[in-house]
Symmetry: D3
Subunit: 134 residues, 6 copies
């Protein structure tokens, strides 16, 4: 089920086809997952979303690609987005995440959520030492 009806033949629209082709070329696979098929209902939204994903996730930078995927998983878990957890866990595994790393990642995410609650429940005042703007 979905809140929009995805276009039956999305690549009939040349703007959609251009994005799908770039997804396939960037990821070196024929597979275009359902998020992009859903976003095809609005080519402008599709284009801007893919442009940002490509720039932030598929461009060399100061953080390695696997770490970026682990951060993406962490945010998706915290926000409770099942689809996102699935797709980025698959992506992390494709980029080499081992079972041991997966288990450690889960331990860090779970611990962070736990201490987030303790801090919020106690309303801990900020230490001056943490102020970067001093």
């Amino acid at each position: 089920m979905s809140t929009i009806r995805p276009p039956a033949n999305p690549e009939a629209d040349p703007r959609v086809k251009a994005v799908f082709d770039d997804i396939r070329a960037t990821r070196r696979t024929d597979f275009v997952n359902n998020l992009w098929r859903a976003l095809a209902f609005d080519p402008t939204l599709l284009e801007s979303t893919w442009a940002e994903v490509k720039r932030v996730m598929a461009t060399p930078g100061a953080i390695d690609p696997l770490t970026r995927e682990m951060v993406y998983i962490a945010v998706s878990v915290a926000n409770g987005c099942g689809y996102c957890v699935h797709s980025h866990t698959a992506a992390a595994r494709a980029k080499g995440m081992s079972a041991a790393q997966h288990a450690e990642l889960l331990s860090v995410i779970a611990l962070a959520a736990k201490t987030n609650q303790l801090v919020t429940a106690l309303q801990v005042p900020l230490d001056d030492a943490f102020d970067a703007a001093r």
Copy 2:
């Protein structure tokens, strides 16, 4: 302000002192931040929380320490815990996070939150390819 009154002299309790001493030794600093001073109101909670933080964050493993801190920041941002964002950004910087890495980390967190919303708003159905249990 805080929801508990932290003990005036927490290290008078030998269980609290033992935890504080281990925090100082593990982190190689005399600084014990306010979270631990607040948790000192209940030595059992203090001990179990520190034991988990030490095991998950300060033990060598399959994920490097800086990546763990970046994941911790990501979860803390998603959960809106200002104190946690401050303390783990300071920890990541102490472990070598550059300004460029900080900016990229923020870009990944922000993008993940954005696509989380799009997926949830569209209620995108899961691709079979993402099922690890197939």
Copy 3:
């Protein structure tokens, strides 16, 4: 699946029947969606919830009905409630939301979630100019 067993014949209870009848009359449809069938396990909770939904969403006021639905979608997306996103997207469409408006709504929601993360990650101090209580 559900955490309660909805009554097999909810309208046998006159309090439930009165609410269902009012839902049908207010919305000018025979369709009573599953939320109300689930809430029928406790007529008091059903009555108070419907009374508030009717007052806030189906009474003329200072904000037009479609805008209210778009705000409802935004909150439901941020809270990750799939059922709520589905039901209020259907309601917004019934009140005239176009595909272009739907796409723009998603762009605003996604951007807001993104900048929420940036602000929280940076712990931006409040500008005095924003204080309405000055």
Copy 4:
């Protein structure tokens, strides 16, 4: 307090100055709020964030500007971002939001959060009628 040290003289960097100038021109005010001053620590992040805010919030489209601000407020409240709630409430008021509209907006946000919880707690199964992909 903040997790980064904002540049003391951000407009010494011509990329930052160009963004600040565009903010002032677009909003017709000399005031540049702290979010942009904080983002100036990374001109690339500053440029991409402002470009998206300008495109989504300050370009004529299918949803009127005040409605967009009310949606922005709703997401910011749900995500618990105090700074964002302050800045977008000020923006909504500048675009004409009356006290009556403000009160109604709060009523809708509060009701949505409430029914989100009821639906999640009951795990209400989706009605077939809500599937746009049928």
Copy 5:
């Protein structure tokens, strides 16, 4: 700071005065906390919010008053509402919550948040045994 300017003399409005008087009588104290003073900017919102708080929190029922406060704290912590955590921790203490109970409450909240993350990260399929609608 606040997003609305609270009325300088709220009880000059007889509807506001009636609510404040009922708060004082119900809680047997002269103290009216800031939430109600802020809500006074819209007497209708003030009346409906207080009516629900009084009905749900201050009326004898199937759950004892202290348990209700502990549930309220748990939701407020999960939603990151600092003011709410403060006010309901004070209320729970006034209803007899001991330091030991407070520490246990924090342990349950923290554990729940932790396992919530694990379940979401693993996308654990639902056991048939949990379906109350079978």
Copy 6:
């Protein structure tokens, strides 16, 4: 669907078997629900998670077992974890939660989420009276 492939025969690993046996003994049932079967992919994570659940939820303390389950439900609802809501609602019912208590629990959770939004939207300043550290 799941993000990990659960072991086909988890109890072939003696560490997993020991945890499953303790779950069965502690809960006095042969049923081991899917969360534990999923966590079996990493025996260390399984052991530490069960140890904490057993200590926090199945050890006599200052808060009665049913109240702990109700708090667990509240956090799980606020975090939008459907599996967790299902499993802990079943657990609460097994510990005696009546339909009337269930309905009241939902009323408290829903009200808390509602007032959390109002407080955040209004950015209500903290009353001095709530500071436990005074």
